[in-house]
């Protein structure tokens, strides 16, 4: 049972009561009906690459692994779609579509391993979201089983479905509403070319303003990423990508599409970045150099792993114009907590991933890292953002959810959950905090003297 005790948020482990690995929809249905009749909780698991504890088992419950649902059922190039089972890996879809000149756009960092069912459950993102959207924008149809064992098809093979947009609800529902047994995804033509500009800045502020400048210049890059000095040094030492390690920050800006379109956009991006004070601007001359530019960005997490025994990856989104301010305040928090923070993130859509460096062998340091992470997420909400851009809430962000949403909204979330799963058996305790939890959290985080959830008893 040990292999099932956690997902990629390995600080939390729970041994499930039972793990099942069905092979057919009928077997999944039988498991769900049995669990429903006996009121046994069910946690669905894909590859377990989730970073927020969304697939953490329940001690008295069943861990339902969909690992065996790993077949690509159909690639339909004429209709530019693929019909796949939920356990198919994200990258495997693009590999299967490649002979037709097509690919599946959303590319979470874990795309080699993560599954499409998990991507739908978490509404996963990646580098390309600014231009190509999240999972919710790239899924046409989902077939799922309810906890009662009813098979429902949401969406259609066209570009929209009949009835309410329940497909939108399923994307990002973190396994609370149903068990996904089939997904139809949209495929896009592989871009003719892609080129990247690397721009170095001597201040975080200038880099942040350059990011806003790129968007203002009517450009929608395929990727617009940023790394701070701590991350640059760590990645350069790891992959030797030739990064300017003296820079305070580096911005990577990628354009893709037709050759002429990319040339025009890259030229404009260079001008904008230089105009915002870039001390150095490099342009990828060929595919090898483009890959080199990205090598460090893609290896940033393991690179940080080499310079600290442990790190804790946060995931919040903020309005782009607040980037410089928020990064400054994260620096202040880092000093206050005595824990270093590296920043490497999707600047184009404001999706931050502060990496808090700590050492779990020092008593209390994990707790300090978590408290710092929570403050960063609260800060994201304070400036008009959100507590999660792509990792999901899981168990990790239940407290900050109490800051982002009020009682009335949380009640609606619970009511929606009940509309799908009246007994609350699917992935209980995840994604949506109980009001009692929020009351507890609010007691220690009174903002501006206003007590949150005053209508609730304190516990």
């Amino acid at each position: 049972m040990r292999p099932f005790e956690c997902d990629a948020l390995s600080a939390y482990t729970v041994l499930p009561w039972l793990a099942v690995l069905p092979e057919t929809v009928e077997q999944v249905r039988a498991v769900l009906r049995l669990c429903h009749s006996q009121s046994v909780p069910v946690v669905t698991r894909g590859a377990g690459t989730g970073l927020s504890g969304g697939a953490l088992p329940v001690a008295e419950g069943v861990l339902l692994s969909l690992a065996k649902f790993n077949r690509i059922l159909e690639v339909d190039p004429a209709n530019r779609l693929a019909r796949v089972q939920p356990g198919v890996r994200n990258l495997a879809i693009s590999e299967a579509a490649a002979p037709f000149g097509l690919y599946y756009a959303p590319d979470p960092s874990s795309q080699v391993a993560c599954t499409i069912g998990g991507n739908v459950a978490e509404n996963s993102g990646g580098v390309h979201c600014l231009k190509y959207g999240l999972t919710v924008h790239n899924v046409l149809q989902v077939t799922l089983l309810t906890i009662e064992g009813e098979l429902l098809t949401l969406g259609s093979l066209g570009l929209d479905g009949p009835g309410y947009d329940l497909l939108a609800l399923i994307n990002g529902s973190e396994g609370l509403l149903g068990v996904i047994v089939e997904v139809v995804v949209k495929l896009l033509p592989v871009p003719e070319t892609a080129r990247t500009v690397l721009a170095a800045f001597d201040s975080i502020e200038a880099a942040s303003e350059a990011v806003a400048g790129v968007i203002s210049a009517a450009l929608v890059p395929a990727g617009l990423e940023m790394m701070d000095n701590l991350t640059l040094r760590a990645t350069e030492a790891f992959v030797h990508a030739g990064y300017p390690v003296e820079a305070a920050a580096v911005v990577l800006c990628e354009m893709d599409g037709m050759v002429e379109q990319v040339e025009a956009e890259i030229a404009r991006a260079r001008t904008v970045l230089a105009g915002h004070g870039a001390v150095e601007v490099r342009e990828s001359r060929d595919e090898a150099e483009r890959r080199k530019f990205w090598a460090g960005r893609k290896a940033a997490f393991p690179a940080i792993g080499r310079i600290a025994p442990d790190y804790y990856c946060i995931d919040g989104t903020i309005p782009r114009k607040r980037l410089a301010e928020v990064l400054g305040r994260i620096g202040e928090l880092s000093e206050r907590y005595g824990l270093a923070v590296g920043n490497v993130f999707h600047a184009g859509d404001g999706n931050l991933h502060p990496l808090i460096l700590y050492d779990a062998s020092h008593p209390g340091e994990l707790e300090r890292a978590e408290a710092l992470g929570e403050e960063i997420l609260v800060l994201c909400v304070e400036v008009g953002g959100t507590v999660t851009g792509e990792h999901g809430v899981g168990i990790e962000k239940l407290n900050p959810m109490c800051v982002q949403f009020g009682t009335a909204e949380l009640r609606r979330f619970h009511a929606l959950k009940a509309a799908f799963d009246a007994g609350g058996l699917l992935n209980p305790g995840k994604a949506v905090p109980t009001l009692a939890r929020c009351a507890e959290f609010g007691r220690v985080h009174v903002h501006g003297g206003r007590l949150r959830h005053p209508e609730l008893e304190r516990f």
């Binding site: 066209g158 570009l159 329940l166 939108a168 968007i215 379109q261 782009r320 999660t388 809430v393």
Partner: protein
């Protein structure tokens, strides 16, 4: 443009109606009444609740109150060289922002730039009890909580009165050219499949007896695409796309029932007969026919999509095929989450009734 926050009054009106169990008919500009269908209840206008609340060109985000005229929003975006990527139909000069989102319709650009639903980032609503609620937000990536904002899109106001909606906007392309081709229905399908998925900067692909292909982007890219494809420059291209989007095109005049079929672009509609106009590179097909509704519903479903009776003179005609029983029951439960007394736009969403 008038700017007024009337949310308190609107919430109060809904709360009173809820207490009395009286149905309300939410009214924007009335330009899409034909689409929503007949509905009972006291009228409740959102026109007094208007104005752009927030617009930040560098953020590509706009937030507006539901009573704001759609034309006003488009004018403000145009001043900054931006636009609504989903190119929504107005269907009349009075189209409001709330009605646009409540109907959830998107124009010819949809397959390549995303739908209205895809652009929605957040909303404030009044639910059926008169409670003001906020979902989503104003940032591009937000996966906290269930995606209620997109659920509201296209729900015809039956899940809540929309107060404010935030959407992602896009830069206007530098250059736009439309090509047209003499082309049969069968030939057009083959070309739509080929060009629609080619990676060329396509932003429109429609057939009305001739095939129209709209290209947009940087000037050198559009010029290269034109050279690769060939064909003639279309006359009055703007008029064509506008006529298609607004149903001012000749095809849409007349009294026969107008159907919208949403299908996989390469799908065959079998023996379904009538007059066709194809949009969205084959994914949206307009049909004028006297065929039995059940025949149209069945043909669309068999092709992997669905059909809606879009315009009809028969108010009793079914607009959509019935949902599967378990799905219909779920729709009713979802509706009850937001409007337990069923007072909002009663009758407009028979799937959830």
């Amino acid at each position: 443009m008038r700017s007024l926050d009337d949310s308190e009054n609107l919430a109060g009106r809904v709360a009173e109606a809820c207490a009395r169990g009286e149905p309300l008919r939410i009214q924007g500009g009335g330009s899409k009444d034909f689409y929503a269908g007949p509905c009972t209840g006291q009228p409740l206008s959102t026109r007094t609740h208007s104005g752009i609340v927030h617009y930040e060109p560098t953020e590509l985000v706009l937030t507006a109150r539901s009573g704001t005229p759609l034309t006003a929003i488009e004018a403000v975006l145009a001043e900054s060289g931006q636009m609504l990527g989903f190119e929504p139909p107005h269907f009349g000069s009075d189209a409001s922002w709330g009605g646009t989102v409540a109907c959830g319709l998107s124009g010819p650009r949809r397959p390549w730039a995303g739908s209205l639903r895809d652009a929605v980032l957040g909303c404030r609503i009044v639910d059926g009890r008169g409670k003001v609620l906020s979902f989503g937000g104003q940032v591009m990536k937000n996966v906290a909580g269930f995606d209620v904002s997109r659920l509201m899109t296209g729900a015809l106001g039956t899940l809540g009165l929309l107060l404010e909606i935030s959407v992602k906007v896009l830069p206007k392309p530098e250059c736009e050219i439309t090509l047209s081709f003499e082309c049969s229905h069968v030939e057009s399908r083959e070309r739509m499949i080929r060009w629609g998925g080619s990676g060329l900067p396509v932003t429109g692909l429609a057939w009305d007896g001739r095939l129209y292909l709209r290209l947009a982007g940087a000037e050198p890219a559009v010029s290269t695409a034109v050279r690769r494809i060939g064909g003639d420059r279309a006359e009055d291209a703007a008029g064509f796309w506008n006529g298609l989007r607004e149903h001012a095109h000749d095809f849409f005049s007349g009294e026969a029932d107008l159907w919208r079929l949403s299908l996989p672009p390469a799908a065959d509609t079998g023996r379904l007969s009538g007059a066709w106009l194809i949009d969205w590179g084959g994914a949206q097909r307009w049909l004028r026919t006297d065929a039995d509704p059940d025949e149209v519903f069945a043909a669309a479903q068999a092709a992997g999509g669905h059909a809606r009776l879009f315009r009809t003179l028969n108010p009793q005609a079914p607009r959509c095929a019935p949902l599967a029983p378990a799905l219909a029951a779920l729709h009713r439960r979802v509706r009850a989450v937001f409007d337990p007394a069923g007072i909002l736009n009663r009758g407009l969403y028979p799937e959830a009734a």
